[in-house]
């Protein structure tokens, strides 16, 4: 929490997607922090202690999203993580999201309303 608002960390290598997410989340009254890579994301987690993380599955490297998640779990941080995945990413069938410890998956293109509703129920 910061200034009474929940802090959400968004990690995606596409700067425009990050910006869109920021606009939507700020409209939902959240504090938004962004990172453009998995390594940057890990650093930011330590810095800002987010209440929730949204991370893209495919960044510069394949599976960088899942790598980020496992590394984070390993370091003992317990923050709800949501993954952004594109339809047609055939990895869908191959990753056990529950085993990975994800709180959920959003399909791209995001539905902003749906996103905000879900976050509201998750972050009371």
């Amino acid at each position: 929490m910061q200034d009474g608002k929940h802090v959400i960390l968004c990690i995606d290598d596409d700067v425009d997607i990050l910006e869109s997410l920021k606009v939507i989340l700020e409209a939902g009254d959240y504090q938004v922090r962004t990172a453009s890579s998995a390594s940057e994301g890990l650093k930011m987690v330590k810095e800002v202690s987010p209440d929730l993380i949204i991370v893209d599955l495919m960044m510069e490297e394949i599976d960088s999203g899942t790598q980020f998640v496992s590394e984070l779990q390993a370091s003992g941080q317990h923050v709800p993580i949501y993954m952004l995945s594109s339809t047609g990413d055939s990895l869908q069938g191959m990753i056990d999201y529950e085993q990975l410890g994800l709180a959920g998956v959003f399909q791209k293109p995001l539905d902003p309303d749906y996103l905000l509703k879900l976050l509201k129920s998750k972050l009371k």
Binding site: D14, E19, L21, E26, D111, P112
Partner: protein
């Protein structure tokens, strides 16, 4: 079957001879018996003074030596049938018997002299012309002796003066009779041998042409078989290996190799070899300029060399001699695109290659050329296809990210501040077009995937209900929101051996279209069952239908009917062309029936025996 170098005595003629000899032996029984019976009758009816005892003795003698022949043959199993000695023994004994009969039945005036003619014919058939004339000469001499005997009155028994009254030759002198009979014999011998000589020649020619025909037939069969192999296998090494082997064996050679030009066209490397020792084979690529023989062949000419070890055109003369290679025939391997290489056969003995052999080798070289072109075309095809699929995938992937970004930004607009109605409308327009582009690039990828070469390894036997689950669910969701009644009727346990992705693509398109182009409250039915023709599936709807004039175009890429566009539903126009490409590739059957305003039914039949196209053998 290999060709024998040189010629044997032709086998059918030997068999002919054996048959004739067997026949003569059986005739001899009659001859022996005939002598006895004739003697008996003549002595009884005509001439009581006939010296019957000697004549009976000769008859018996004939029967006895015939028996000896039979026993001899049964012991040797008939293999000695045609030896010269056996024939001469038979003839000798026959003639001796005849002479004795003649002597005791009247000497030169004996009517049995006519039997000489019969024996001459036998001689002409069994023996060569020279031998037959020799026999005739002997006969003439013996007859002469008989004539002299009568003339000088040494002839006995004297009671035979009476026979002179009985024969036609009574008024003539012994000399005259002798001369008459001898001339007759000579002419007969000449005529008989002329006929048989000509017959034999004909037989030989016929046999030779039969042999030649058999050889040609055999060659054709081998070529046919090889042709089929070439058509059914794409493993070029295997095919060329078989050609080298077959060329060697068919031509009765020792060894063969096929060398092909490399990309630079400056070297010839061995593509296949047969019959060489390890050491000789591993000689590595040869520079084209090095070998005159190769140069000539590469120009399209056939080259033969009689003695490889001595010919200056050969670089490795020593090795060739050691390897036991004597003569060589070299022909080019030529295809439509030019000379691809050369094929050479080597013989173990010096050999002059006939026209026929050259043609045969050229034919095999042609088969090799075809096989090579096939293999090259196929691999080029595969490469092109891989490139195409890669390109489609890259396009899809690369276009998606920026599109997703655009979509994200547009979706975020309403959250960056309050929008007026006009702004909202504009955003909606933009959103729709972005969705269009997403659909389009997905369809592009699907189309590229549909057009790829078929890979049997991606096919498996699957249950329709399992593979189509997602497509059906999506259709159900869409149908539900449009209040369309969707009926799914799939025969239980219905299976297909197919790439599951292909199956999914076909029906997600067909079902998607059916729901899309059916107005609210309509119905869509998906039916699938097995019949004699295979698995028959139909997707029918009560939708907008297809106008008859559009029927031919609906499977064309990017085509959308007026009705489809007017329906307000979005579509890329690629869906049906994807379906058609997929069904065609699977060897299936696709048809459509429709009435504008009433509905459409698509039928897809997956054949029982999946036809094979574009496969690796």
């Amino acid at each position: 079957m290999t060709r024998e170098p040189g010629n044997h005595t032709p086998i059918p003629m030997e068999q002919e001879l054996q048959a004739r000899l067997a026949w003569f032996i059986s005739l001899r029984w009659f001859a022996g018996a005939g002598i006895i019976v004739a003697t008996f009758l003549v002595s009884l009816i005509i001439l009581p003074e006939l010296p019957v005892k000697p004549l009976y003795a000769v008859g018996l003698f004939v029967l006895l030596y015939n028996l000896a022949f039979c026993l001899y043959l049964s012991r040797t199993g008939g293999f000695e049938f045609h030896t010269r000695q056996f024939i001469l023994t038979q003839i000798g004994l026959d003639w001796a018997s005849l002479m004795i009969v003649m002597f005791f039945s009247g000497g030169i005036r004996s009517p049995t002299s006519i039997l000489l003619v019969f024996h001459l014919f036998i001689g002409a058939i069994l023996l060569s012309r020279r031998a037959c004339f020799l026999l005739t000469g002997c006969a003439v001499i013996i007859l002469g002796v008989l004539a002299v005997l009568e003339e000088t009155k040494i002839i006995f028994p004297p009671s035979f003066q009476e026979t002179q009254q009985l024969t036609l030759m009574a008024p003539f002198t012994p000399h005259a009779i002798w001369f008459g009979i001898s001339s007759f014999l000579a002419v007969t011998a000449y005529l008989a041998t002329s006929i048989t000589v000509r017959l034999r020649e004909r037989e030989k020619a016929l046999f030779a042409s039969e042999q030649a025909l058999q050889n040609v037939n055999h060659d054709l069969e081998a070529l046919y078989h090889l042709g089929r192999v070439v058509n059914s296998k794409l493993d070029i090494e295997q095919v060329l290996g078989m050609i080298a082997e077959n060329a060697t064996i068919l031509l009765g050679m020792k060894a063969c190799f096929i060398r092909l030009l490399d990309k630079s066209k400056a070297n010839l490397s061995i593509a296949a070899a047969y019959g060489f020792s390890e050491a000789y084979q591993n000689k590595g690529p040869v520079k084209v300029g090095q070998s005159e023989v190769d140069l000539e062949a590469l120009q399209g000419r056939v080259v033969q060399v009689l003695e490889v070890g001595d010919d200056y055109r050969f670089i490795y003369r020593q090795e060739a001699r050691k390897e036991g290679l004597r003569s060589m025939l070299c022909v080019p391997v030529e295809s439509m695109s030019g000379v691809l290489g050369i094929i050479r056969v080597y013989s173990a003995e010096p050999h002059l290659f006939t026209d026929h052999e050259q043609k045969l080798l050229s034919n095999m070289a042609n088969l090799g050329a075809v096989a090579i072109e096939n293999a090259r075309s196929y691999s080029e095809l595969q490469n092109l296809n891989k490139e195409k699929v890669w390109f489609a995938r890259m396009t899809h992937h690369q276009l998606r990210s920026p599109l997703a970004a655009i979509q994200g930004v547009i979706d975020a607009l309403p959250y960056a501040g309050t929008l007026n109605d006009k702004q909202v409308e504009l955003i909606t327009r933009a959103r729709r077009r972005i969705r269009d582009v997403f659909d389009l690039i997905k369809d592009f990828l699907d189309l590229a995937a549909a057009q790829r070469l078929r890979e049997p390894k991606t096919e498996k036997t699957v249950l329709l209900t399992t593979v189509l689950q997602k497509a059906i669910e999506t259709a159900r969701d869409n149908a539900h929101s449009k209040k369309i009644n969707l009926v799914i009727d799939i025969q239980p346990q219905l299976q297909l051996t197919i790439d599951p992705e292909d199956l999914e693509r076909i029906f997600s398109n067909l079902l998607g279209n059916a729901v899309k182009y059916t107005p609210t409250g309509g119905h869509v039915t998906f039916h699938a069952s097995r019949s004699d023709e295979g698995v028959v599936t139909t997707v029918s709807d009560s939708g907008i239908g297809i106008a008859p004039e559009d029927m031919d175009n609906i499977f064309t890429g990017f085509f959308r009917t007026k009705e489809a566009k007017a329906s307000g539903e979005i579509g890329t126009g690629l869906g049906l062309s994807i379906v058609k490409t997929l069904v065609d590739r699977l060897g299936g059957y696709l048809s459509v029936q429709s009435q504008p305003g009433h509905g459409t039914t698509f039928t897809v039949i997956f054949p029982e025996t999946v036809t094979v196209r574009h496969t690796n053998a």
